[in-house]
Amino acid sequence: MIGPNNVILIPILAGILAYFLGKVVKPAREGLTLGSVIAVCYLVFRMPFDKVISYSYSFKLPYAFGSLSFGTNALTSFFAILIALSYLFIAFTAFALVKDKDYHDTFYLFFNIVAGSLLGIVYSRDLMSFFIFWEMMTWSSYFLVIMNAKNPRKTGLTYIVFNVAGAYAMLTAMFFVYAAAGSMQFDKVATAIALMPNTKVLFVSILFAIGFLVKMATMPLHVWAPDAYTESEDSFTGFFSGTLSKMGVYGFLLFFATIVGFANLKGISSIKDTPTVGYVIAWLGVITSIFATFRAIVQDEVKRLLAYSSIAQVGYIVTAMSLGTALGIAGGLYHAVMHTIMKLLLFITVAGVIYRTGKDRFSELGALITRMPLSFLAVLFGIIGLAGMPPFGGFASKWVIYMSLLKSHNYFLLVAMIVSSTAAFLYCYKLIYGIFLGHPSSPDLMEVKEVPAFLWVAQVPLMLALMVFGMLPGLLVPYISKAVAALGFNAAFNSTNMYTLSAALGGFNGFTVINVLGVIFVVVLIWYTLFFPKSKKLHRLDIYYAAETPTEETPLHYGYGIGAELHRIPWVGASLRRHITTFYEKFAEQVNGIASVLKDILFNGDGQIYMLYAVLTLVAIIMFLGR
């Protein structure tokens, strides 16, 4: 039976083959990627969801590593399915959008390797294989970030510094734990940590947290994310911000719930029976979502707005999970799925829009609803989900997170989260207004065609998924409860049927909500279109304009300026002016300064000084070690 270890190799081999075979026959790249996508989806879905299976895979690595072991449990299958589906949708998007680009070959090489390494992360059962695939994800996604970047130098270097530094923080913690446990297997490591003294456990958990918070782009470690998400290859961005950030979520859950264990973290120090480390991270998550939401509203670039919105949404997941309550983790997982679906849908559509119009700023777009109706519908579904509006799944996941915060009495966290989720309506509206409504900023926008057909293969299922999860919020509950159980928590949902979602303090019936909405809308629609005379189609410029008549030149696409008024709100304005990046830039200057001073002093080019160094070292050794 093809175990997880083979599933990982399929995309990686496909990628490498695609690169070389593609040189001979170009369509081989799409063919191989498609083959690997189908194989991965088939195998991932065929694997039993919550039966714990483990494989050891001696990969001929030296004795010190032991054999790399892989396996599945409910949590891994949960994320594996997420990865497989995103891999499928993004592959189709890439088939359409990357067809005639010059980096056609390297794209498929690195895209498949990233997919393979994601599966590797999820299926690995020991620290070393987890780290191997984590690093492979980092460097392969680096090349996809700089592939089509406008200024690859700044984006690429910030991405590498943060992600590699995060990975190495995680690695130090792994070595710490390896020294105590003597082995890299998760279970042995878990038992070893239980016996470690408190200060060490705290040190290890902070280092692990840093590694995963960098990946989840939580404040103050988020600086790489906006640039990386905006400048990465258009069709890859969905995968990047939708699925790669979820690896941070998976890692966080894996290490904090099973290996380090919330219980003994609580033993060390806790505030109101939530571990202090978790409590601090929860506040970090909330602060991230507030800052990121306000920063998202004032953006003019479409992808940068979505990038900041990703950071904000993942901030919710961070807050929900890090409190260590069963319902919180369930809420985090639910929102992880919803966020992936929404971000895939939005980024794929935006990539299609950019591909067709060649423009990526709100001030250059506008009134595309007439030319690209399906994309409009896709973005409409997306923003309803993003804003967390009831008929679609976005509301269900946010509802669970709110309930978890209410149940664990973290009211202040909930109030802070409300600030950001209410402000989210602004950037959702700006997204759909800026691109599809209002007035066309340039005449050529009126000749644009709909997004390529392949994208519909990705968009339609995602839209349906949002609707279905909205209609049947309880559909995911059994799977989430199994995943939460795999982490050692008993699931906290009261209801088990598909239609309702109920937990701690209340519940709601998604099926009724969408039916009521549907019935009323149909009634109003019939009543309005049939019984009333047809409305007269007015010309675009025939609008109420305070007694003047606008001409073709008057700039009417006012909506792209949404968010300008935020600067005037005292606290929000202050947060928008102050950037955390200045701190990092100063730090980078400091390091560069030391580096250049160091090299100029020590290697100053004079042969005689070099001789002097040798003699002085000799004298120093004799004097100091002489006694």
Binding site: N604, D606, Q608
Partner: protein, 122 residues
């Protein structure tokens, strides 16, 4: 263990020390490349002299069967002297190579001042 250091040993050892000090002082302070190479040569001779002193036994003669009837017991320890031969050859080779490179450096830089020859630094 040959601990019997006679006063001749001490005289020659001080000589070695003086040579070494002069050599190192010259190499580390003089700016002219050729002077540096010469002082390195001096250090080399100092070391070779030190080797000879190690093998010297008071009142013994050179380890060559020049006269019939010389027994090895009357000779000084031959091994360091063999080593010194190789060391001298190496010293010469290094010095010759050094001077040829110094000529080429002079062609390029027009100066022999070692603190001026630092286009490659940092």
């Amino acid at each position: 263990m040959r601990e019997l250091l006679t006063n001749t040993h001490y005289i020659v050892l001080t000589g070695v020390l003086i040579l070494m000090v002069i050599g190192f002082f010259g190499a580390l302070t003089k700016k002219n490349l050729i002077k540096i190479l010469i002082s390195l040569g001096i250090v080399d001779t100092g070391v070779n002299l030190f080797f000879i002193v190690i093998g010297y036994l008071n009142g013994k003669t050179a380890p060559i069967f020049s006269k019939p009837g010389l027994t090895p017991q009357q000779m000084v320890d031959p091994v360091p002297q063999a080593l010194v031969l190789t060391a001298i050859v190496i010293g010469v080779a290094v010095l010759a190579l050094g001077l040829s490179i110094v000529i080429r450096v002079y062609e390029h830089y027009g100066t022999l001042n070692v603190s001026k020859i630092k286009k490659m630094r940092g």
